[in-house]
Assembly symmetry: C2
């Protein structure tokens, strides 16, 4: 198979991954919207998108495996394909987080409506920016932009911790709203995890572009 | 490079991964122990092990990338190396969950001691069994054993949901213990996530041994 064909296949693989990224980004955005507005139709839509994300994940992986098996790529092309496989997994997990948030919105809808002193919407927007930047850094092979995503992760961690301590106080003052407060705590953790996945994507972009492994150099623990 | 040398390198890669698996398994086991007994020395130990896990992850990945670049493996060997890369990521994330549990134990230690109507210890043991079985299925290339791990995941999901609804009731009856109850809810979710990673490992073993992708066929959403 001629080398030019291989380069076209790499472009096709990138396009497939970017289409998947758009789905994950949309799912997360809509899930936060659904949570804030209690829009049950939107919840169903997020769960539908997640099914599409799962199918896309399998398809990206198969194409990447195929390229590895048939083309035996070297150096930067190999790093690119390995990065695609990892980013693919992180995008799928962002979809999982979106589904969880949609499920939390469904649970919340059956509880009395109350107002809580936390801004899930702002947190959702910031995480959305992280995901967009991570994907843009992939699109443009821009390691500097990817680094800016790593910096934002700390901010989200802090917001998540603030939500938690604020809402524990609410629970203690008003035990009757414990369910709603716990719901918001879990949504905040889901957003924090989505931010971790955006961070992983940015790290993989840096690995691809620069060939260096930046994991475990910026943050101590990444899990929720 | 002769082919026999390549097979030796694959064995070395598997050994490296199994050593990492032992660390992750130990970290999770000790973190639950630390949480239950409020042993602060054990918490520090878990956090030390996690640093070792992070170093091991980088080392396994580098060896796997090296083999892909230099040996251009085909078919089952390629699938094995790709599975190693994915399993490696899941083992590292089990280490992250263990660290989170240890951090929760540290927070809990500063709060008044109370008794909660949930059995975190039993849940931890079951998740430990899942991780052990997933690793054994890798060691013995046993897809049937890997399938038994997938079946256990539903049980853990149910336990996690039960912990949550039980503890929300506790929060409503006794708001003064909301912090401790939330702590237990989060530990339960960390264990549920560790079980998801064991499930991912089992799926990768099945992919390696049988060449088929079983993701998204057994459960709808895997995230926390």
């Amino acid at each position: 198979m001629p080398r030019i064909h291989f380069q076209q296949q790499l472009v096709a693989l990138k396009d497939k991954l970017l289409a998947m990224a758009a789905l994950s980004q949309q799912a997360l955005h809509l899930s936060v919207e659904a949570y804030i507005t209690s829009d049950m139709g939107l919840c169903d839509h997020v769960i539908e998108i997640e099914a599409g994300i799962n199918a896309a994940e399998t398809s990206v992986d198969e194409m990447a495996y195929d390229l590895l098996a048939k083309e035996q790529p070297m150096a930067i092309d190999l790093r690119f394909i390995l990065s695609v496989i990892k980013i693919n997994g992180d995008l799928e997990r962002i979809g999982d987080q979106a589904t969880n948030i949609a499920q939390r919105a469904q649970i919340l809808n059956d509880l009395p409506k109350i107002s809580l002193p936390v801004d899930i919407s702002e947190m959702g927007e910031k995480v959305g920016i992280m995901i967009r930047r991570a994907i843009q850094s992939l699109l443009e092979a821009d390691a500097k932009l990817a680094e800016s995503v790593l910096a934002m992760d700390d901010e989200i961690d802090q917001m998540n911790r603030a939500v938690q301590s604020e809402l524990v106080e609410v629970m203690q003052r008003q035990p009757a709203v414990s369910s709603q407060a716990l719901n918001a705590i879990i949504v905040s953790r889901n957003l924090e995890r989505a931010a971790d996945h955006a961070t992983n994507i940015a790290e993989d972009v840096i690995f691809w572009v620069r060939g260096s492994d930046v994991r475990h150099k910026f943050s101590l623990a990444e899990a929720d």
